[in-house]
Each structure stands twice: as C-alpha cells, then as structure tokens.
C-alpha cells in the first residue's frame, strides 16, 4: 500500500522512548546508565544509589513500568520509582528491602540475577534451560563508577535487616480492619488499603506498614485514621466522612429518593381518578368467570396472555354486571 519512497522509513529499530517525551536527563547521577538501558529494566541500580536520587529512575522510565517490582505484579502498576515519592514512606529505605519491596535489593546480590528470576530465570524450572530475556535480564552496575557501586552495596546491606519479611505479612487482620477505612490511592484501583489486591501496591504496601507500626505503638483504629487524615486530608478516607461535605455526599442519594417519592405522591394526588368501586364478589363466581375467559380467549386462538394482565383486567369488567 505504501508508496515506494515511504518504505525506506520503516526498517530500523526505533526506540519507543523517542516518541514519548524527554529521556535524557543530563544532570543527576545514574541518568547516563538510564539512557544506556533503553528497555527501562534494571534501572533499580540508580534508585539504590546512596545519594538517594530516586527521581532519576522516574525520568528514566517514562512509561512508568519496568522495574523489578513490576515483574511481580500482574497489572504492572506500582513502579519502584514511586517508592521514592516524597510522601514520607518510601525513599531509599523502602527500596532497600530485600523482601521484594523494591528492586534495589537485587543490587545486593552479587550474582547479578536480581530482578530477573521472576521471568527470566527460574532456577528450579525443569526441562528447558531458561531462555534469555533480554529486556528482563539484570543489568549489572557497569555504568556506575566503582566507588559508587561499593557504596551502594554497603548501603543496602546496612538497611537490609530493617524489614526482612514479605510485604504481604503486613496484611494482618488488624491492619486490614483499619486499612478498609483508608483509600488506596494508587490510581490503579478503587479499593481500600485493607483490601487492595495488588501485590506490591506502591501505595497500599507502605500504608499498611505505617498502620502496622502505628498499631504496634498502641494506637487504636480511630487514632490511626485521625492521624492520617490530619496529615493528608479527607482524601485519605476510603469513603467520605460522616460530617461536613462528606455527610452531604452520603445523604444526597437518599435525599434524591425522598424528593422522588414526594414528587410521586404529588403526581398521584393530582392525577388520581379512582375507578368505580367494584362490588365484592365471592371467589366461586370469580373462578367461574376466570374459566370462561380462558375458554373464550383460547378459542379465539389468542393466548391467555394476549393482554398483559388479561384475566384480572377482564374479570373486573365482567364482574360489574353482577
């Protein structure tokens, strides 16, 4: 279909990044490495740098996907870069958790198989040898100067003991109970912190840990929720508060039903035109008429159902002469 002179535009590989906005970030550590890794994977190394400029990773992954944590996630939300968000939790400490919180932990593994195993390398897999997954293969830290690398490893090792557990383990019944009152604002779901189903959710996980810590400090659910709302506003709540504007939100649908009912009664009162009162008839007579109606309608070939409520409709007409 294409004219011949257009064909020459197509053959070579074109990095998708070139289409999405800025990639190269001249300043900032690690950005050189980013540019060198067009796939966006393996950029965990940058996050792990002691200088803590996790934001470089943000820039490096314009698509927002692709860090090791994502490998563990079906929906692909929640990049490691977000761990570095300024909201308090997160930043380098989170990144450093070896338990799968952030990809950075991989750096601590000298074997260099950090993020890859999820897809790229399954040590136990029987049969076929692992296929090389170029996009997922862990990129060693060759782009970073040696002292930097050393520092990174030391930094990670020093932090790794902080949380040596799986992030799912914060999901205790207590945390879930308090968590259902807080919204998961990961933009990927409309769930609460207590029941967000995404593993390694970049919002719910840190929030769960925060709740966990607060509960450990002896705070009640109410206090936890109040503290978090005081810091972040009512936006933190999973459903609107029962005061102020929030109450308005809750009441409005039922208020609308009320208005509807009121309009309905008004309408009925204005439009009502009672039918002539039927005389009471005993059921034997009624049954006889019902049979007769059925017989007549059937004979004519029209179903008993020709009229939506035919039997009763005719019945009332028929009983008047009685």
């Amino acid at each position: 279909m294409l004219p011949a002179h257009f064909k020459k535009f197509s053959p070579k590989k074109f990095s998708p990044k070139r289409m999405s906005t800025p990639v190269a970030q001249p300043s900032g550590c690690g950005s050189a490495a980013d540019v060198a890794q067009p796939s966006g994977y393996g950029s965990a190394a940058e996050v792990a740098q002691p200088s803590g400029c996790g934001s470089a990773a943000d820039v490096a992954q314009p698509s927002g996907y692709g860090s090791a944590a994502d490998v563990a996630q079906p929906s692909g939300y929640g990049r490691a870069a977000d761990v570095a968000q300024p909201s308090g939790y997160g930043s380098a400490a989170d990144v450093a958790q070896p338990s799968g919180y952030g990809s950075a932990a991989d750096v601590a593994q000298p074997s260099g198989c950090g993020s890859a195993p999820a897809v790229g390398q399954t040590p136990w897999s029987a049969g076929n040898p692992p296929v090389a997954h170029s996009a997922l293969r862990f990129r060693p830290l060759r782009h970073i100067r040696t002292w930097n690398k050393t520092l990174a490893v030391a930094f990670l090792l020093s932090l790794s003991f902080l949380v040596a557990q799986d992030p799912t383990s914060f999901m205790t019944a207590d945390v879930a109970r308090a968590g259902t009152r807080l919204a998961c604002r990961c933009e990927g779901c409309r769930n609460t912190v207590g029941d967000c189903p995404m593993l390694h959710c970049h919002f719910a996980d840190p929030m769960r840990r925060r709740i966990h810590d607060m509960q450990k400090a002896g705070m009640s659910d109410d206090e936890i929720v109040r503290d978090i709302v005081r810091e972040e506003g009512v936006v933190a709540l999973s459903s609107p508060p029962t005061s102020g504007w929030g109450l308005f939100t809750w009441v409005m649908p039922f208020f609308a039903i009320g208005i509807g009912l009121w309009v309905y009664t008004l309408w009925v009162r204005r439009n009502r035109q009672p039918a002539a009162e039927a005389h009471p008839v005993d059921s034997a007579v009624l049954d006889r008429f019902r049979d007769q109606i059925e017989a007549e309608t059937e004979d004519r070939g029209a179903g008993t159902s020709a009229l939506a409520p035919p039997i009763r409709g005719h019945k009332e007409k028929n009983k008047r002469p009685n």
């Binding site: 289409m19 609308a256 029209a302």
Partner: protein, 670 residues
C-alpha cells in the same frame, strides 16, 4: 493515504453540517429537494467515513508506522485481530469508530424510513447530523487519527510500533468496546426521534413504536458491552473481582440504567398514553449520559484507570454536553403543553404505579452512581479539598437500592394495569412469598448470617418463583386446551406474547446475575509463597505447585506456573497461571488461572517469584457463585432476543383513551 483519510473526514464534517442545515431548512421552507439532498448527504458521509476507517485499518494491518496512531497502538508482531482492534485502542481511532457507527446508523435510519415519517425525518436527520458534526469536527481539527509522526523533525526511522496495551489483547476486549459503542451511539436514534417528534409536535406515539426495537437492540448492546467488560476485568486483571466502581465503569453503567428505566416507562406511554414528558426526559438523559460517558472515558475529567491522559478535547466535550443539555431542556419546556397525559392513575396498587416506582428506584441508583463519580470533582472545584469515593460508598448506597429494585422486579409484572385488589395480590404472591421465606430460613439454618446476602437470596427466590409460576400457569392453560406437552405449551405461550414472556426471561436473567453478585459477600482470598512440590491449604482445596517454565514468542516472553488443585488428596484440576512480558510495549500482563464451577470459582494469579528464586508467589481467590453472572447474562441475551421476535398473535391493546384530551390535541395540531 493519510491525506486521503484526513480529507474524507473533513468532507464528512462539511457534509454533516450541510445535511443538518439542509434537512431542517428544507422542512421549514417547504423545499423537499433540500431534504432529499440532506438524505443523500447522509449516505455520502457514510461512504466517506467508511473510506477513512478502511484507510486507518489498512494502515494498522500493514504497519504503516509513520502514522502516530499506528505507531502508538500497534506493532508488527501483533496478531491481526488485535491490529484490527487497535482501531479503537486509542482516542483518535475510537472517536473515528464512534463517528463511523453513527454514520452507519444514520444511513440505515434514512434508508428504512425513506417513505415514512416525511414530516419528522428532516428533524431526525438534523439531530443526528449535529451530533455527527461534533464528532467529525473533533477528529478533523483536534485529534486526527491520520497525524503523521513528527513531520519535519528529522526522524526518518519509524520503528515497529509500541503495540497495543497488553491488557487489551484479550478476546473480550476485541468485542467489548464496539459493543458498548453500538449501545452508546445507538441511543442517539431514539433520542433523535424523540426530539423530532417533540419539536414537530407530532401527536401520538409514532416515535415510540418506531424506536422500540432500536431501543431494545441498543440496550442489548449496552448490556453485552458492560457484561463483557466485567468478564474481561474478571478474567484478565486477576484481582478477584469484576466491578471496581471505577469512574469509567460507572460511566458505562449510567446510560444503561436510564435506558432500562426508559424501556419500562415507555410501555406506559404505549399502552396508556401516560408519562410523555418523563419518557422525553429519560431518552434525553440516556443520550446525554452516553456523551458524558465518552467525556469521562476520553478526557480524563476524573482520574481513572481507563481514562486517557489530559486531552485537548475536554473543553469541546464539556461545551457540547452543556449545550445539548440546555437545548433539550428548552425543547421539552417549550413543548410541555403537547405532552399532556391521556390517562389518569386509578390506583396506587396498579401496574402504572409499579412502573413509576421502578423508574424512581432506577433513577435513584443512577443518581447515586453519578453523584459518587462527579461529586469529588465538584467538591474540589468548590472547596479546593479533595475527597475520595471508593467502592465502600457505592456498595453501601447501592445495595439497599438494588434490593428494593429486585423486590419490584418480582412484584411489578404481576400487578394488574389500572387497579389491583388486595385479594388478587394475595392470590398471586402467597406461594412466591412462601418460597422466599423458606429460602431465608434454610440459609439461616445452613449458617449464613450476612443480612444483605440473606435478603438478596430470599428476594431472588421470590422473584424466580413468581416468574416460574407465570410460565407454569400459562403453559398449563395452553396444555389443557391444545392437548400438547408442557414444554411445547411453554414454547407456544412464549411465542404468543414474545414481549411479555421475553421480558420475564430478561428478569430471570437479571435475578440470576444478582445471585452471582450476592456471592461476593462470601469471597475469600489469600496470598501464598510456594516452592516446587509444596502444598498450600486454601478453602476446601489443597494447591500444589508442580512446575514453572519459561518461553517466548515473537510478541512476548512468558513464565508459566503449573498448580494442581487437590481435594481430599485427589488432583481434581490443574491451573496454569502465566506472566507475560510484551516486548514492543515493554509492559507486563498476567493470565490468571481460573477454575469455573457453578458453586464457586477459584482464581490463581501468578504474581512473581521471591527475590532468592526459591518460591513463587500466588494470589488465591475463592469466588462463590460468580458463574451465575455469566449464566444470567446468557438468559438476558436470550430473553431480549425473544422480545424482538414478533408475536405469533397480533396484539390489540386495550388502551384507555380520554377522548377530550385527544381532540384538544388535534385542535392544537390544526
């Protein structure tokens, strides 16, 4: 090629403006040739937009990656069906699809009515062409699907494209958006007829008779679209659910609710000549909510998973929406005297009254969803304070409303038109009520104490038995008369009045879906880490990870886990959840392992592998009764198709007409 595509869209825009003006001018200046010219313009528009769509599809199929749209939404390795689906995979293409569908509908309407409704058709064309002009304007001037990538920026290498979002590479996603669009766009037709009849002050219900089938078919498309979307979310997203109250999901639900209300209340106008204003309001609301739905989907007005990023078309959509709202309101208010009811309500216990209640409750639930979706936006604009409205709000508000609606589903169809006596009510309802109460008692004894679920199950049993009784009574009567077998009699019964019994089938399907929804009260979930040959206990099952393998295709790399599902030591099933990494888009997607059974589904989502590579992480879900949603949907589909089949017996409605009002109307007409 792209020039030809862009040109044909531009021409389509010009012609739709011309058709709108010519049709209306032709009608009011009594120039039939102008109207005829407008009708031909409609066909021409259809041809032009078909050409444009064909060019875009061709570019997608052949991989013309110079086009920004093609490069952003397809890649060379994609299966042809997904290359085709990329037509509506992005904003520009989906707006083109919308325009093309509307053009198709318009052409069909113009063709089938070329000798009917001569008085009304110019206005119908006018309304449809104004809407089409808006959409073609967008794809001509604002978001053209034929934008060439980086013209004059020195890029000569167009690569292989970024590929369609992997989450969308799933068979239901190929038919879900077109289905929804067929439904959304389709409601423009009843709306156009309603507006035409209103503005031209046509007496009677011509527009309703003409558009009844349209309304039912488009309602069916919407139902299919929404349910396919649920099925997609359930099968692909792997979060153990099917409805997340995301703004865009809500947007697809809103017009469906008002369309449902419209399908019910329209019967009042058809049979009794009542509710004329109300039907106008409902059909307009459905149309406007469809536009609102598109606004939400396409402009990022509210934050949502589905919405595209902030887009330049937002002001256009908002303007169009408010202008349409103002015009419709004005048209209805001005013509109020022509919408006088022809009959009066005789009793509060009557079919009329139950329809009113049904409408009231449907609208209330529509309002609750709309309110939850839009209020945070309004509030942020007013108070600069953000608020989150998540699933708990919608569930808490909508569950009581839905339960009441379920109750009405059972009661409404059995109440007589005009007036029902308490005696007849008692006769009709004592058996279903008994069944409902027995169900609740049985479930209580079985240990279920969830109040909403108990109520829902009780009501479902109640409604199902009212429907079964209706079929039973009617079939028995026919069986006795015609001396045929009961199933044959039931078939005969349905055929004699397809609308009524098809309607019952639709109700039955909805009830079955409600059974499925209620099952979500008993969902269980867990997250486990399993090494090879390790076993985890979940519900009544034991799950054993037997193997994990890797591999790749042209499009993606994958890791697949094999999990044996065991019960009492016996392997009863094997699930194979999978993680995929798509090369072109550099995105991940997972294929959830699902074991579907009527009593409960099991979902296993392979989430990844622990850092040390020793164990794989799985998210497990037990979802009781979910399958009934899909069963119910099949019944709804069948029932709606039954409704569309003409009845064997031509029906005569015992319509109450008030002579005085009718003659007054005629006077007004002359």
């Amino acid at each position: 090629m792209e020039n030809l595509g862009a040109l044909s869209i531009l021409l389509a825009f010009c012609l739709s403006v011309f058709a709108a003006v010519a049709a209306v001018a032709g009608k009011y200046t009594q120039r039939p040739f102008l109207v005829l010219s407008a009708e031909r313009a409609v066909y021409a528009i259809w041809a032009l937009l078909t050409l444009a769509s064909g060019l875009l599809i061709n570019a997608l199929m052949t991989g013309d990656f110079r086009l920004a749209y093609v490069a952003a939404h397809s890649d060379r390795a994609m299966a042809p069906v997904y290359k085709f689906a990329a037509w509506w995979g992005g904003q520009e293409g989906s707006l083109l699809l919308w325009s093309w569908l509307l053009a198709t509908y318009s052409a069909v309407i113009v063709f089938t009515n070329r000798r009917k409704f001569r008085n009304m058709m110019p206005l119908v064309i006018g309304v449809m062409m104004v809407v089409l002009a808006f959409f073609t304007c967008l794809i001509t001037f604002v978001v053209s699907p034929f934008q060439v990538l980086m013209v004059g920026k020195g890029i000569v290498d167009a690569g292989d494209g970024q590929g369609l979002n992997p989450l969308l590479q799933w068979w239901t996603m190929v038919i879900h958006p077109p289905m929804l669009y067929l439904g959304y766009v389709g409601f423009t037709v009843p709306f156009a007829f309603a507006m035409a009849s209103l503005v031209s002050r046509q007496p009677g219900e011509a527009w309703i008779h003409t558009t009844r089938r349209w309304a039912i078919v488009t309602w069916l498309f919407q139902t299919c679209g929404v349910t396919l979307g649920m099925g997609w979310a359930y099968t692909v997203l792997g979060w153990g659910g099917y409805w997340g109250w995301d703004p865009v999901e809500n947007a697809s639900l809103l017009p469906w609710i008002t369309a449902t209300a419209f399908l019910h209340s329209v019967m009042m106008q058809e049979k009794k000549g009542m509710m004329k204003v109300w039907n106008m309001v409902l059909v307009s609301a459905t149309f406007l909510l469809s536009i609102l739905g598109t606004t939400l989907t396409r402009t990022g007005l509210v934050s949502s998973v589905h919405a595209f990023a902030q887009s330049p078309i937002k002001p256009y959509f908002t303007t169009f929406l408010f202008a349409a709202l103002a015009l419709v309101t004005y048209a209805i208010l001005v013509n109020l005297p022509y919408l006088k009811s022809e009959a009066r309500l005789e009793s509060v216990i009557s079919r009329e009254s139950s329809f009113l209640f049904n409408n009231l409750i449907l609208l209330a639930s529509c309002f609750a969803v709309l309110w939850g979706t839009l209020f945070p936006v309004i509030m942020e604009a007013l108070t600069k304070e953000k608020e989150t409205i998540d699933a708990p709000y919608y569930n808490r508000v909508n569950v009581p409303i839905a339960l009441f609606l379920l109750f009405l589903t059972g009661v409404g169809p059995l109440i007589a038109w005009r007036k029902s006596s308490l005696d007849s009510l008692r006769r009709a309802f004592w058996i279903p009520s008994l069944v409902g109460v027995c169900t609740v008692v049985a479930l209580l004894i079985a240990g279920i104490t969830h109040v909403a679920a108990l109520t829902s199950f009780g009501l479902c049993a109640f409604v199902l038995s009212t429907i079964a009784l209706e079929f039973w009574k009617g079939s028995r009567a026919i069986q006795a008369k015609e001396k045929i077998a009961l199933p044959h009699a039931a078939f005969e019964l349905t055929w004699r009045n397809t609308r009524r019994y098809g309607g019952y089938l639709v109700h039955m399907g909805i009830v079955l879906m409600f059974i499925g929804f209620t099952g979500s009260a008993f969902n269980q979930r867990d997250t486990v880490n399993l090494g090879i040959n390790q076993i985890a206990r979940f519900g009544n099952y034991d799950l054993k990870l037997t193997n994990v393998t890797d591999g790749q295709t042209d499009e993606y790399e994958y890791t697949q886990a094999f999990v044996d599902v065991m019960q009492n030591g016996q392997v009863i099933d094997q699930l194979e959840p999978e993680i995929r990494h798509y090369k072109a888009s550099d995105q991940q997607s997972s294929l959830v392992g699902i074991r579907r059974r009527l009593n409960e589904d099991m979902q296993i989502n392979f989430s990844g592998v622990l850092q040390d590579g020793s164990k794989a992480t799985f998210q497990l879900y037990l979802l009781p009764l979910v399958s009934w949603i899909w069963v119910g949907f099949a019944v709804v589909l069948g029932g709606t198709l039954v409704c569309l089949i003409p009845s064997k017996v031509r029906l005569q409605y015992a319509r109450t007409e008030v002579v005085g009002v009718a003659s007054a109307l005629q006077k007004v007409q002359s």
